[in-house]
């Protein structure tokens, strides 16, 4: 909506791919160098980009500070974290926590597997939305129109032969997931990796987050992983209870008689 700001913000994902000099930024933005310069200067003043010694620009450390403060506003993560750790200590595999936001599903927390073979993922990285177990849970709970709208707009890349092929199949899967209250991804993203996931719900029963356990099938078979499902569901339920117990605004916690 605002051209100038739009251009300036487009620089950030561009720099996320690696440092770039003024010319490259200007070219990839499709604007004159002097324009790019002024935008970069403004970003620089706010600490969002940093100019390294070779004069090239890269993302600035202030982004950390902001992201860090952003996460502190997400109560779910705070509450869930100890549960994720406990779950990880008990079963050893990688544990993820994800939320839905504006058509995307993002990991907001992760506890690494204690086994040497680890799957690749990254906190903050958008999830493979059409196949990930956590994504299914989060999308399954959306109101019907939004769910359909999102499903229609998605791409359905065939990561493996078991990936979700199209919107129809996806919506059908979502219906099943909504029904059963848990989800799996059996080799849909990477051939050898399986996940089981369970939803975290708020006071009104809406799904606010989803947690999953992932393991390569060289470590555990899909059947063994499914055997962990009750434990995962219990953990998610515990987080849900704790989350629902939280007052919407906790300034009142000790005030009332």
């Amino acid at each position: 909506m605002s051209q100038t700001v739009d251009r300036a913000l487009s620089i950030l994902p561009l720099l996320a791919q690696g440092p770039a000099d003024l010319g490259q930024v200007a070219e990839r933005l499709g604007v004159h160098k002097s324009t790019a310069l002024r935008l970069l200067r403004t970003l620089h003043e706010h600490g969002l980009v940093y100019r390294q010694e070779d004069q090239r620009y890269r993302l600035g450390a202030r982004l950390f500070a902001l992201a860090q403060e952003a996460v502190e506003n997400l109560d779910v993560r705070e509450i869930a974290h100890p549960h994720l750790v406990a779950l990880n200590e008990r079963i050893g595999h990688t544990v993820h926590l994800a939320v839905y936001e504006d058509g995307e599903v993002l990991y907001i927390d992760k506890v690494e597997s204690r086994y040497p073979v680890r799957m690749y993922s990254r906190v903050g990285k958008p999830v493979a939305i059409t196949v990930a177990a956590v994504a299914k849970l989060l999308l399954a709970d959306l109101p019907e129109p939004e769910r359909r709208s999102v499903a229609d707009k998605l791409d359905y890349p065939m990561y493996t032969s078991r990936s979700t092929p199209n919107a129809a199949a996806f919506l059908k899967e979502l219906a099943a997931v909504r029904e059963q209250g848990w989800a799996t991804d059996l080799g849909g993203h990477e051939e050898s990796i399986n996940c089981v996931a369970a939803p975290v719900t708020g006071t009104d029963g809406r799904v606010v987050a989803a947690m999953s356990v992932s393991a390569p099938n060289v470590v555990v078979t899909a059947e063994e992983l499914l055997g962990l499902l009750p434990l995962v569901r219990r953990t998610a339920a515990a987080v849900s209870r704790e989350y629902s117990g939280t007052l919407p605004d906790n300034t009142e916690q000790e005030g009332s008689p």
Copy 2:
């Protein structure tokens, strides 16, 4: 330099303090509501802010993705992390890694103490620059003019009676730190917390980061903590060696015949 972008970016730290509605944003920016709306919309399109169900705005999850990608460009952190973990496993206390950037010192990594009593800090949070041990190391290595300029512009809050009181004392301390190659903070930030820190250097000997060990003196006395200094210095030296060995661009790692 660019008014529009400047205003838009000013919204981010504002929202970092907590969710706000349109009116509040407009007021705190000093602009008309319609202006604030358009800025927020643009930020929203880029995923930097998110509109929650009560229509208020808060920081968006995309900030995570960006911050995460930003950190992947910081080789120091990648290299240092396992060393921080190892150090923590050996001594149990909180371990920090910090860098200097544009007049600020920021923690970019942290491994929590295994003891129940923990100090408060946050990855991404600007460090108390006038007293923290890591800050002293990073500033001590700046070229003389910049060091003086930064020191002059700083505030010198007296967190405790042992805080650095003014620029003169700070510069003197920095000289000493540069001389000895390590630094301490003995109750300068919080009365009961002590730190020891050592520098991570690059190929040219410049200090690129600093690592520290912190502990409250109810757990270890300052003397005991100082006893850990050799270990901390050895760890920092190991990181330095590994960092200096890294190729500037690692696309060549397996390509050459």
